[in-house]
Amino acid sequence: MIELTDHRDAPSRRWPYVLLMLIVVGFVLPAAIAFSTPWPAVLFIRPLVNEKLPVTPRISTAMQSVTISAPMRFPVDQAPPGSLVFITPKATPSRSRPVILWIHGGGFVAGSADQLIGYLSVLASNGFTIANLEYSLAPENRYPVPIRQAVTALTVIREHAQDYGGDPNRLIIAGDSAGAQMTSQLAAMITNDELARKVGIPIQFSAQSLRGVMLNCGAYDMYTAPGTGFPAIDTLHWAYIGQRNYLRTHAADEMSTAKHATSAFPPTYINAGDGDPFESQAYELEAILRRQGVTVTSRYWTWSGRKLPHLYHYDVETEPGQLVLKDMIDFVRGRTS
């Protein structure tokens, strides 16, 4: 007789192999992947973030009252092309409108300008020309590629805003989440030559034309942001900056607007929900800006018990969403009248 039984499969001898598999596949492998590449997390996050915002009645009505341009692609020095979509009210204005450059969020690795067309249509229908920036995502394109694209977008706005009824000398820059970080950095670079030199991107845009910034649910200090417990924050910054120990890079310093905002920083609107881990980031930047003498308007929900999550303001059918929308309309009108 030939013995065909594999002794490793004998029930009493299986358990050491099961334990070994659990340790390797269950602990060693995920840890090795988590510490060697941000890619799996990025691929997991993208479909979650890339969902389009629902078209609510308010958004549907607004979209009928605005014109949405075809994407205007523009070349960018040392970076892939960027693109801008202009959203303008259909009604002919008596004078040129304020321009809002909007930079979308998505943790630098996800999201798109297209997702916000509905929300920005609501904002534009209040008499603004909106330039909605599409920038390249990480990890395919790393810092400072999106900043280069945003800086070039300023030049495009200066040259083409009038074609869309906008006045480039009355510009507001706004963004949400990662877009709010980029907005704050852009404003810091425009008003702080030393930072612009550090980043190595020359800016040919008059600080006088930048009338204000609107920062929604962003991180403004890369050194304190990891302590907020925002999901996957280290992996997102690793993907964007390109180094796992990103806090040791010059990029982390340049991205920390809290360290580079000067008294010339433009008047600022800042908001965060009480359930958003980045609420403390908004408080931190606001305190620094106020110390510098910068005018700050803010909206917080601390102690309200609402637990408003990250990017809560995009739900324009809720009271908090409507309040933030009104805040932004009032801020733009107040800063550009």
Partner: protein, 36 residues
């Protein structure tokens, strides 16, 4: 007998492989998304 033994063995290892992969996924999510 051999066939039955093979089937039992493959069910055993498939089940434990799924458990290990699920554990790996949970550990990865904890490491990356909750900064454990």
């Amino acid at each position: 007998m051999i066939t039955r033994s093979l089937i039992r063995s493959s069910i055993f290892w498939t089940a434990w492989s799924i458990v290990a992969l699920l554990l790996g996924f949970v550990v990865y999510v904890l490491l990356v998304f909750f900064n454990v």
